[in-house]
Symmetry: C2
Amino acid sequence: MPGARGSGHQTLRVALLGCGSVGSQVARLLDEQAADLAVRTGARLEIAGIAVRRLAHPRSAGIDTNLLTVDAPALATRPDVDIVVEVIGGIEPARSLLLAAMKAGKSVVTANKALLAEDGEQIHAASREHGTDLYYEAAVAGAIPLLRPLRESLAGDTVHRVLGIVNGTTNFILDRMDSSGADFGESLEEAQALGYAEADPTADVEGFDAAAKAAILAGLAFHTRVTAAGVHREGITEVTAADIASARALGRIVKLLAICERSGAGVSVRVHPAMIPRSHPLAAVGGAYNAVFVEAESAGQLMFYGAGAGGTPTASAVLGDIVAVARNRLAGTRGPELSTYAALPVLPMGDTLTRYHVSLDVDDRPGVLAAIAEAVARHDVSIRAVRQEGRGDDAQLVIVTHEARDAALAATIRELEALAVVRAVVSVMRVEGEEALL
Amino acid sequence: MPGARGSGHQTLRVALLGCGSVGSQVARLLDEQAADLAVRTGARLEIAGIAVRRLAHPRSAGIDTNLLTVDAPALATRPDVDIVVEVIGGIEPARSLLLAAMKAGKSVVTANKALLAEDGEQIHAASREHGTDLYYEAAVAGAIPLLRPLRESLAGDTVHRVLGIVNGTTNFILDRMDSSGADFGESLEEAQALGYAEADPTADVEGFDAAAKAAILAGLAFHTRVTAAGVHREGITEVTAADIASARALGRIVKLLAICERSGAGVSVRVHPAMIPRSHPLAAVGGAYNAVFVEAESAGQLMFYGAGAGGTPTASAVLGDIVAVARNRLAGTRGPELSTYAALPVLPMGDTLTRYHVSLDVDDRPGVLAAIAEAVARHDVSIRAVRQEGRGDDAQLVIVTHEARDAALAATIRELEALAVVRAVVSVMRVEGEEALL
């Protein structure tokens, strides 16, 4: 398999598909760190070619333009290529390229969360069928080593829960809303102006990016198959300044969380904004950083924190994978296969146990709390804490529920909204983290 | 190599050396999770025997006493054993057992930080010579996946610095001193009463345990060889209530840190108490928890957090390694070799750049600060910030220096202690973390 020898080491040839913010950094690092990488892998890693969309596009200084080609399919299957690195993103042509590369026996490294979350089954099947490596540490949480610990370090443990902040754009926007009191629209504009959000921010602010990552995390954590379609997804576009203020008044902060839980019956995978206590370690994760908690039976609570995006941090994760597949290739072996043997059902959101925070403007007169408590009880939901504050002839009432089925909680909220004593619903949001009290 | 078949899987036989708090949990988990582990590794993992010191010692319920033996050397080299797991700790007999096991072709998993830090070279050489696996994730920071990320995920990056809290006992004691104002002795007694410190606490409170971990981390992070003897080590026995109070007055907290730095000339590896800002993420790491920051060229700042000790969390890390070596064994391969190619010199502490906090009781009269500033300048040390507070006829002066050679800073402190205007040195301690100002 490996190509010609050189400087005492075998040579492994890398085809790079994509030369954007991540790809250009991968190319730079392969070049700058060539000597170190050769010693660490036991092979010289050489770039065989870089597939781009337009040859004429301006490139950063380190890129050897002689390596550029617009014929990605040919590059991905060229006989002199050992390792294919895909950093194009999106479903097509990435999927066809990876499938063709694996069919041709190439080891594959990809950062493509969308593809893995949508069609991971086909991609993994091709890796099994053709006996090739498939590594994708960079697909979730950028530079943070998270998938390898889940796949390997925790392989002897039972993971119960994964909970984290896995999208830096939304974290930046929510941070701005929290610190400035601005609404979503203004904060998004600011994020766009600073380069933290794209011109079309849909994938981030609607939670698609986080949902893809949650699907991948849940699959690895629970040894089962989860696709993006199985993830309950709510973005942050409907988070209001009132939600942020209501959270703040109670010592909480709003974060977009990705949550993967194993329950007796199956797994629940969801992405939605939630209030967490300001004392929670995730509350301190600011700006474009990511952090993920993993709760395992024996290991207990683990947290992983670092840069969740950006060309260079993501390239670090890609390089780690390139070293791994290079070592495997030289040893004539491959990394651990994805295990999906548990084959757990994915629970609908309505069956997931959650807790809600509800802030209501109500009439300030006796009997209001009783009416509300009765409405809540009708749905078999129990109230964990209530805080009531008079303000002239109306009052603000904040309720945090105990855990209940999400469907029951949603129905409870709808009933509260319709109650005569309720003048307005100021804020409704799920609550996560230990301290649920007011 | 693998033994007989059973239930559709090959069988790999595990010899467990040691059955204390970690070993008994490893035995329990191997048994309880047998079905899951079989699917994940592709082999049934069966305990071939458990080496103990005394057969008659009471055992937890899950331990099959028929497996016990006092003949560890025979067990470690038995022909029907594939994997040897060493959780005895200490140098001998662990070293001889591991060397014999590797000579006999066994894959080895160990949690033995002291042995790896003192004699890692011989242990790794045996693994190379005999082509056997040597995994030791549990040796540093218990359940936290830290060594695998350093060895594998960051294999394509350049690590500049590793800084962390890697000893739970001292972290608990310093926490107690901080929250109660008690001195070291009282807090140690409390830790002993609660089971957080051993009857002979030397290894923890004198920093030996943290120094062994620092040596292992530095070696992996910088691809070089560091032994415990190369680690500058200061424990917490001389941390006073005055140090703690002085830190607190300035928004800082005292932690025992393990610090591994790469500088142009070599590496600096040290364990000592240091003041860090209370806003630093490590400040919030309480009780018996561990947390480690890794700073890499491309990945940026990463943090890993979790349970740093305890039988079950440590067993989780051991199990992850057992799964890895089992997979490797079935694939006829072995994990990545330790790379020490960088062969960097270990710098003496005196040449390491540090910053100091000094709190002095001084005469409250004009000219005192000038005398002190002059003394500091004589050592080519510059002052970053000074705070002076009058209190009747004396004053308290707190100085934080800029970064300088540790030897120059230590000499500066000695000179300050001898100055006529200095009535007493209240507190001297190194400062780490970003915010160094008063």
